[in-house]
Structure formats: C-alpha cells, structure tokens
Symmetry: C2
Subunit: 324 residues, 2 copies
C-alpha cells in the first residue's frame, strides 16, 4: 500500500498512470483504502473545480458513444484535455462493463489528451455516483479541462448525473411517434440542452422536425432560471456536424452562469447535497444494521401491505429500535 | 380528553361532528393526542380504502376552487358523498388558511353530502401530508365515496399529493405562450389526466388548441403503464361542461387499474413508501437532535462550501456522532 503523498503528487504532476491508480483506490471497497482515499481526495480538492463538467444521457440508439467520441476528438484537437467518466450502477467488472468501454471509442482511447474510465463496478447508484464524483475531483486536479460524465438509461441515474455536472445534455434521435417515447419521465426536465443526433443524409429534415417538437415540449415547462432556456440543437456525430455549435452552447451557458454567480452557487449546492446524501445514507444504513431493525421492517411492511396497521404506527414501532 | 372508542364509533356512525373532531385530533401536535390518534387510525384502517382518491393541482388562475366545487356538486347530485381535503404546507391557521376555505366553495359547503376540510396548519410538507393521509383514512371510514385532495402549487406538494391518490389531475388553462409556462417542472409527468379549464364562450377554440399542445407534450414522455395513457380534456367549471367526461375518465382509469391489479399494487406501494418516509424522517430527526450534530453539520457545511473538505469526509465526520 502506497503513501497518500504518492497519489497526491502523481496526480498533480499529471501522471496518467498514477491518476488511474488513484481512481482504483477511490473505487476500492476495502476500509483501509477508503481511509487513504479520503486523505487523497481532501488534499486534491483545492486543485479541483476548474473543468467544464458536462453530463450526457441519451435514448437507446441515440449514438451516445459515437457522440462522446466525436465531441472528445473535437475538443482534443483544440488542445483541450478531456476525461470521460461514467455512472452505471448496473455494470460489474466480472460481467463485463459495457459503459465507457475503451473499445467503443477507438479513436478517442488512443488520443493522448483524452482519458476514458469505465463506470465503477457494482454497488448502489449512490455508491457508484459518489465514486464518480471523487474521480472527477482527481481528474480536475490532474489538469483536465473537460469532464464528460455519461449515464446509462437505468433507474435514477440521469437525476444523479445531472446533480454532479454544470450542463446536462440529452441526446435524442428523430423517429416516428413511438420511438420518441423511449425518453423516460422527467429526463427532459433535467436538460440544459437537447441535441437531436444522426441529422445526416436523408435524415436531416426529420431531425429538424424533431427539433421543433422538442422545442414545443420544452417550451411547456418553466425555465430553470431566468438566465437560461434549454435550446434544442441538431448534430451528426458520425459526420462531425453540429458538434461545434453544441460546444459553443455549453461555453455560452458557462459564461452566463459564471457571470451571474449561479455556477458557483449550483456547485456549492451540489456539494452540500452530496454531503447530506452521504450522511443520510450512512445514518439509514447504521439504523438498518442496528439490532433487528431489518427483521422488524420486513414484518411491519407486510402488516402495512395487509392494511392491519397504519404506516404511522408502523414507523413508530420501527423507531423504537432507537431506544434500545 | 375522550376515549378512542368515542372517535372510532362516531366516525363509523358517519357522525360528521365526530369526524371533524377526529381530524382535529389527527392534526394535533400534543404527544398524548398523537398516541390517541394512532389508536383511532389503526382501528379505522380496516374500514378504509373504498373511496376514489382524486388529487388535483392547477396552474395559478386555472380556477381550481370553482372546478372542485363544480365536480363536488356534480358528484353530490348523483348521491355520492364527497370529502375535499388539502395539502398546503404554507398555510397556518393564525395567518388565515386560504386553502379549501369553505367560503371559496359556497354551494358545496352547504351540501349535506359534502365535507370540506382546510389544510392542516403549519409544519413541514411531510408532516402536513401525513396528517392529510390520516384524515383520508378517517373520511373513508366515515363512508365518503370520493376524496378530493387539492394541492397548492408550492414546492414539492404536487409530488406528495400524487403519492397519496389513485388519479392525479392537472388543471390548465389556455393562454398565449408565457402564461402556459406557469406549470412547474415535472408536474405534467405526474398527471394521470390533464383538463384545460375555462373552455367556454370565445375561449373554446383556444382551449382546443391548448389541448392539442398538451397532447403532443404528453406524447413525448413514456407512459406510466401499458394500461393507461394520460388524456387531455377540456371543460368549463363555470358552465359545468366537460365535468362528466372527466369523472368518466377517472372511473375508467379506476376500472382498468382494478382489473389489472395495479390499483391495489399502487396503494400498497404508497403505504409502504409512506411508512418508510415517516421512519426515515424519524431517524434523521433523532440524529440531528443527538449530541451536537446540528452544530457539527453547520460547520461542515461551511467547509464543504469553501471547498476545504470533501463531501465524503464531511459526511464521515458527521457520522462519528453515532459512535458517541
């Protein structure tokens, strides 16, 4: 086991090998690793926070990997250092992590300015997300300019990714009726921007039509702030068109939110919310492991389902564990 | 202080005076009242669950009170007993509860088949909602056929009301552009049905246009289940038109969800979720009151905001309270 200074200095020296090892440390579930990892992260925090944090989700078939590769290449060519991270609570190394797999991004994976890291394996969404958040800090301390956090369309992972980035982009494709419905409830509400991908060849007109539909749909919700109203763009990741406009939009958003102070405010809120989430999870875990709370919960749950006890009384019963 | 049997028997005897008193007991924050209230609710639970539980929210100016009064009168005229409850965490008796105020529903308030109860005063959303949920049980045990739970458009109250009803109706009005945007993020996602109100006189064509817009917007989200796709209807609460169609839709939804078993499943899930919410809140409250957890949290929060400590370390620090 290494010294914390090994990781801290290596990351600050932009040593990619050490960054990888630091992230492996962050992802470890061994309790001595956790202690070490906290020391490392706490020392790196003052060097973090400068990157553009971009979250990306997409409906199935939207071409998310190709899009991330194209955007990553576009940014690399401008001399920007790009890290691609992922949040996928369903991934597990032993079953083959499909997320952010380097083989899916052949060009970007050999690009010296780019760093691709698959989702931490297994665990709850909260656990996986927390590891990704810490990896973001390490990447920022290692001098990355842009962090792309991708999500798989499972459960609540979109909300989680949106809560750790500055700009949340939803990738769509045009398609008749039913196909469009693949978007999950509430995802559009999280978007700072929407991009309709695969706008190439015969598909351009359809993509423009889809853009219009999403513009109306977005119009029907209240804007997040007075500073920003989420635009709908079209692009082709395959033909590398429209990528520049999307990036300009991200920068425009960044400038506006920096000027109004909303970016700093947003990040502070995200950090405090993350802290609260972590310790509330910790308290709950502690509670469930206390005495026979789990057994009691199971029994009470059945009684509530049968209607033989009110939820209030059941909760009261369970809270008696705290008196033990 | 009365005996629990006084409340239980009175409610089951459909004595409205006792029902009112039982709800006052439910809403009391005195700890001896809480114990008594739990006994009463637990005894009433077996007699509850038969009513149609309808949640209603609306954009400002949608005419929610008039709508609820018209729907209530329509149902009363069919011999159905209707109770109107409200969830308004901002209301406080001393500052004058504006919600479900009897004076807003002049005709319905003197209708013998109807029972109108303002929102419990003050407290957190969770606390107010929990009291409303218990009042629903009391009203059902007292033989009400339809429970209408209205929400004010504040904070998360829509999500909360949607989580305690069978059918959640969102009331809209037609209006040019900006006015429509008054709808909050995510509310449309909760809707089992949408009604465009004030479709009367010169306004009918505009209402039809608005209906079309909302139909497209709803089309862009994934349906909640295969059983149901939220319809958009038009009505005029003032002219009493379209109310029948809305009620038929609620009954159609009820029939379909009863046949598939989804209604029972939904209610079971709601009860278990409510129980979990109550005891997780209880655990958190207990934690925050333990030792100097609140003071520590305040300090750590500041440090997280300053970036001098990572959220993970801060959470770890705070959890040490549990070891004391």
């Amino acid at each position: 086991m290494k010294d914390p200074q090994y990781y801290i200095q290596g990351v600050l020296d932009k040593d990619m090998r050490v960054l990888s090892k630091a992230i492996t440390l962050i992802e470890s579930s061994r309790s001595d690793h956790k202690v070490l990892s906290r020391q490392v992260i706490d020392s790196l925090i003052p060097y973090s926070g400068k990157a553009v944090r971009l979250g990306i989700t997409g409906v199935p078939g939207a071409g998310k990997s190709t899009f991330i590769e194209s955007l990553g290449m576009f940014l690399s060519e401008q001399g920007l250092k790009v890290a691609v991270l992922a949040v996928d609570p369903s991934s597990s190394r032993s079953h083959g992590s499909i997320m952010a797999d380097k083989t899916r991004m052949e060009r970007l994976s050999i690009e010296p300015n780019a760093f691709i890291r698959p989702s931490p394996s297994g665990g709850s969404l909260g656990g996986v997300a927390s590891k990704t958040r810490e990896s973001m800090i390490a990447c920022e301390a290692a001098g990355f300019d842009v962090l792309i956090v991708e999500t798989v369309g499972v459960g609540q992972s979109e909300t989680t990714v949106a809560s750790m980035v500055d700009f949340f982009l939803v990738l769509m494709i045009s398609g008749a009726g039913d196909e469009i419905q693949g978007i999950k409830k509430g995802v559009l509400e999280l978007a700072d921007g929407v991009a309709v991908n695969k706008a190439d060849g015969d598909n351009i007109e359809k993509a423009k039509q889809t853009r219009k539909e999403y513009e109306s749909a977005l119009h029907l919700r209240m804007p997040e702030t007075r500073t920003w109203s989420a635009p709908v763009m079209i692009c082709s990741a395959l033909k590398m068109t429209g990528i520049d406009t999307i990036w300009e939009t991200v920068l425009d958003h960044r400038k506006k939110f920096t000027d109004t102070g909303e970016l700093e405010e947003k990040r502070k809120k995200q950090s405090v919310a993350w802290m609260k989430e972590l310790f509330e999870d910790g308290v709950k875990e502690w509670f469930y492991n206390k005495n026979d709370a789990k057994k009691r919960l199971k029994k009470l749950r059945r009684e509530v389902e049968n209607g033989s006890i009110s939820p209030t009384s059941a909760a009261g019963e369970l809270l008696k564990v705290l008196e033990d």
